[in-house]
């Protein structure tokens, strides 16, 4: 390939974190937390037409222990919130969360007693996706934005020591309060 031809027997100097994050961002395994209708669009994004495999995220794992990013797709009720949180807790670090659709992002049209008005009340969310439901394109764009975030070494869901000292960590700020 081109790279070997131009470098030959030489070497590339970079930071280890940059390489690790580059690996991470191109193999984000999603946890398909499909709670309601947004899950249909999530499945469409995984299908051949939109093909989430182009971004290295085709491996939908149905066990949280093998996942990197949780895609919360659907209306989250108070009763379900505990289950979602428990599954999130079982994911190994580093981990990220995509809030897919308005219901997960803000409660959406369900302004009612039983629906959590945004999953960021109990989960650290990295990327929000608008739409009811969002098209698969929107989800793919959210994944691309998340990849940028991963490359920068940012995650809202874990301690900065686990991913390298990047200083500007949201959780870090909360803990020192």
């Amino acid at each position: 390939m081109g790279l070997e031809n131009s470098i030959g027997d030489g070497f590339v100097a970079t930071k280890l974190e940059a390489v690790i994050n580059w690996c991470r961002k191109n193999s984000l395994y999603p946890m398909p937390m499909g709670i309601s209708c947004c899950a249909i669009e999530m499945m469409a994004a995984a299908g051949p037409r939109f093909d989430i495999a182009r971004f290295g995220s085709e491996v939908m794992r149905f066990t949280p222990r093998q996942c990197d990013v949780m895609i919360v797709a659907g209306t989250t009720t108070y009763k379900m919130a505990k289950v979602v949180r428990k599954i999130y807790d079982q994911m190994p670090e580093p981990k990220w969360v995509i809030a897919m659709g308005v219901c997960t992002s803000s409660g959406g049209m369900y302004r009612t007693y039983s629906v959590v008005q945004g999953i960021d009340l109990f989960l650290p969310v990295d990327v929000y996706v608008a739409g009811c439901p969002p098209r698969p394109d929107n989800l793919l764009y959210a994944l691309m934005m998340l990849q940028e975030k991963v490359q920068r070494g940012e995650s809202r869901g874990m301690a900065p020591a686990h991913i390298g000292d990047f200083g500007n960590h949201a959780l870090h700020q909360t803990n020192t309060r």
Partner: protein
């Protein structure tokens, strides 16, 4: 009044006398108001002794009339699978006495319907085999479909996991 309803009503009047007095008809469907003490007997009669019997309980639900007297109502939608005929039964209950006898012995499908009605309105179905909440968490203290329940709920009545800490314990007996 439709002929079939008239026949049905005359049978009910023979069996139950005065209790079939509170009735009305709308678009060919009969609605009978029954005192709650006799609801089980009434339903049994409808299912077993009327021909063709109302063998399917299509729905059972509560109503909050928001009145000082006879505030709550339980409605039964009955359907006959042989004749395709429908009828409705209504039972009224006071806010001070929220007990209505269960009809799970007549139609077993009433089990979950009554649990839902209990969850949403707080109507206690006496003799129900397993009267737990159906939708809301079991520790929830209110009944959300009552008219005096605020739309956004009562703050603090439903707990949420913390954003920055692990939820629950690592103890395997602690399951949600």
């Amino acid at each position: 009044m439709e002929a079939l309803n008239e026949v049905l009503l005359s049978k009910l009047k023979i069996k139950f006398g005065d209790i079939a007095a509170g009735y009305s008809e709308f678009r060919g469907e009969l609605t009978v108001i029954v005192p709650k003490e006799r609801i089980v007997e009434f339903c049994k009669f409808l299912k077993k002794e009327i021909d063709p019997g109302y063998d399917l309980l299509a729905d059972l639900f509560g109503l909050d009339m928001n009145t000082a007297e006879k505030r709550f109502c339980v409605a039964y939608n009955c359907y006959s699978t042989t004749s395709g005929h429908r009828m409705r039964i209504k039972v009224f209950t006071e806010e001070s006495d929220m007990k209505v006898p269960t009809v799970t012995g007549v139609w077993s499908t009433a089990n979950w319907h009554e649990r839902e009605t209990f969850d949403m309105f707080g109507i206690v179905f006496e003799g129900h085999p397993d009267l737990r909440r159906l939708y809301m968490p079991e520790e929830f203290e209110y009944h959300p479909l009552r008219k005096d329940f605020p739309l956004m709920g009562i703050p603090g009545s439903l707990d949420l996991p913390s954003k920055y800490e692990k939820y629950g314990t690592d103890d395997r007996t602690d399951r949600t």
